[in-house]
Amino acid sequence: MAEILSGNFPLVAAIVLMGIGLYILIFRRNLIKIVMGIAILSSSVNLFLVTLGYRTGGIAPIYTEAPEGPMVLPVVQALVLTNIVIAVATSALILSLVIRIYRHTGSLDSKKSRRMKG
């Protein structure tokens, strides 16, 4: 058990982070916390992806003064970078919308600030 856990520790951490993110998104009604929940969800997926790209003994694929040895294929790294960029854009947009919602309704609670239901 301990062996499996130590080998897959980053994967377990990613799943735990995903659980935390979804927990925040489900149970926290504060709009800022919802933004944080999305950010945590995004990081969990990033962690998961980066872990997939790890190869024992592989070196980073940067040729500039690299040591000898097998290099990893940097696909997941590229994916994670793209996802980080997207996450930045998403958070900036959501935060500006949250500010606007607060200005209009005077509340940061997703239950109190809603206008539409039914």
């Binding site: 999305i38 995004s42 997939l52 947009l93 959501i94 919308l97 606007r100 539409m116 039914g118």
Partner: protein, 522 residues
């Protein structure tokens, strides 16, 4: 011309992106020039889409590798799998491309006068073109990660556009809900993609489909993909964001949001039919999709009857129409493994679902544009405040009636042609589904009777006596939709033969999709 067709799949995505960043610069100099550039670029894109569609339907799948002549050209050599971004355009892709091309052109024409008084118009057109480019990207790409990126591009630009009228509190709320839901859905899509990548070290859809083992992780990935895309297309019970969003966005943006929902449905089809294909538990997955579809039909339409906000009413009707497509697709998935059944009614169900997609975009688009026109003139969306508008806005009333009749599936409009395909094929699969479908259609008619009579008929109210018909460009936009609806209604056979059947053939023929990507590799 041959070169143009060869490059058209990337040009269709890249030209809107290029013009998107050109518009703020032109818009600072002259507004008129900006409008001309935006419209002409989208017209050029539409032209490219049609030529590409003709070529794909006649000559088969197009493959376009970005950045190199061959999909597997790498340094160091020896990586025998596609690692580059590859666009793979088949029948379904060009079908969706045609939908997006028509709708985006109409949306831009409509917003010329509808958004005239708003601030930040340069950014509005930038975001609109980004959204169009993103939607084209979603339907043309052959790469799972690229699909995710374009999904996010459409989500982010869509949310910014929904909230673009900053003076309305509910617009901000709608934009917030849209971006939260989209972010969760697309992050879960990325998680599913990473589950697939973990096993096969592949991101290309065709190559993944060839390698698919259908292990436990694949099942989890499939479930996440289905529910995430079902959320993005507004399937019950994950549809609640849709009514909140569609009802508060500017009308021209709502029309584009419909196409992004359609693109999500396209992605769902791509995952089920091509990526997993016959290897998945067809009956179970088919019934899951059918269950979402039936729920969408029923809850969508019963909620629509209740609404007093006209755009919200149409938005719930959108949920209901999406249910029809899901039922058709679900039947198609459920019988995919059995070749004879597939031939007798399976392809017909998929035909109906795909034909309904373009019809849905047309008539719901028309209805939303009409609702936007009413809002433009009287400044309210509340049905209780309206009345007697038909006395002054005669053309708008006619357009609403046209869209309503097509949506409720009355002959001889296009909605009937696609719905009868779904009814009759689904009847052979399970008669109860058809009975529910016809019932739902009847309630849909009741929904629009309520909306039409309380908005357009009745004595002309004194407070709306000086309401005029909307500006000419808005009328022109609605006319385009109306004319296409009538043409599709009168000649459904031609449409089915020319664009719908090639799309269905591409969907049920997983092997040709895989072979196309294999053929491109050395």
């Amino acid at each position: 011309m041959a070169t143009l067709i060869e490059h058209s799949s990337i040009l269709i995505i890249a030209v809107p992106l290029l013009i998107a960043f050109l518009t703020p610069l032109i818009g600072m100099a002259s507004k008129k020039a900006r409008n001309v550039v935006v419209i002409s670029s989208l017209a050029f894109v539409a032209f490219l889409v049609f030529t590409l569609a003709r070529d794909v339907i006649l000559n088969g799948i197009h493959i376009y590798t970005l950045g190199a002549m061959s999909p597997s050209l790498t340094i160091p050599e020896g990586i025998m799998r596609p690692v580059r971004i590859i666009l793979e355009v088949d029948g379904v892709s060009v079908f969706m491309g045609i939908v997006v091309a028509i709708v985006s052109l109409v949306a831009v024409i409509y917003s010329l006068s509808a958004m005239k008084g708003e601030t930040g118009q340069n950014k509005f057109y930038t975001l609109l073109l980004l959204m169009v480019g993103g939607t084209f990207g979603m339907v043309f790409t052959g790469d799972l990660f690229n699909l995710f990126v374009f999904l996010e591009i459409t989500s982010i630009s869509g949310a910014a556009l929904i909230a673009s009228r900053t003076r309305f509190a509910d617009s901000q709320e709608g934009g917030f809900k849209y971006i939260v839901v989209s972010a969760v859905a697309s992050l879960m899509v990325l998680f599913a993609i990473s589950l697939l990548y973990a096993q096969y070290n592949l991101l290309n859809i065709g190559a993944l489909a060839a390698a698919m083992q259908y292990t436990m992780l694949d099942r989890i990935a499939l479930v996440i993909l289905i529910s995430a895309f079902a959320m993005k297309l507004g399937g019950v019970p994950m549809h609640m964001w849709l009514s909140d969003t569609y009802s508060v966005a500017p009308a021209s943006i709502t029309v584009l949001l419909i196409t992004t929902s359609q693109a999500s449905m396209y992605a769902l089809m791509r995952m089920c039919f091509i990526l997993y294909g016959v290897s998945l538990d067809l009956a179970v997955v088919g019934w899951i999709v059918i269950a979402i579809g039936i729920l969408s039909m029923f809850i969508g339409v019963t909620m629509a009857v209740r609404q007093t906000d006209i755009t919200r009413l149409i938005a719930y009707n959108c949920v209901c129409e999406a249910g029809f497509m899901l039922v058709g697709l679900g039947v198609g998935i459920a019988v995919l493994g059995d070749a004879t059944v597939l031939r007798t009614y399976g392809t017909m169900a998929i035909n109906g679902a795909i034909f309904h997609m373009i019809n849905h975009a047309l008539f719901e688009g028309l209805l939303f544009l009409v609702a936007g026109a009413i809002f433009y003139r009287i400044g309210t969306r509340d049905i209780n405040q309206m009345g007697g508008l038909g006395h002054t806005m005669k053309l708008t009333a006619v357009f609403f009636l046209l869209g309503a009749l097509a949506s409720s599936g009355l002959p001889p409009f296009n909605g009937f042609a696609s719905k009868i395909l779904i009814y009759e094929s689904v009847y052979q699969f399970n008669p109860i589904l058809t009975i529910i479908g016809i019932l739902v259609s009847i309630i849909t008619l009741a929904v629009f009777v309520k909306a039409f009579f309380s908005a357009f008929t009745g004595p002309s109210l004194p407070k709306y006596e000086d309401v005029k018909e909307v500006p000419k460009t808005m009328i022109a936009a609605m006319t385009i939709f109306a004319v296409i609806i009538i043409i599709f209604g009168l000649f459904p056979g031609l449409v089915v033969d020319w664009i719908v059947r090639p799309a269905t053939d591409a969907l049920v023929n997983q092997a040709s999709y895989i072979d196309a990507i294999r053929g491109a590799m050395p």
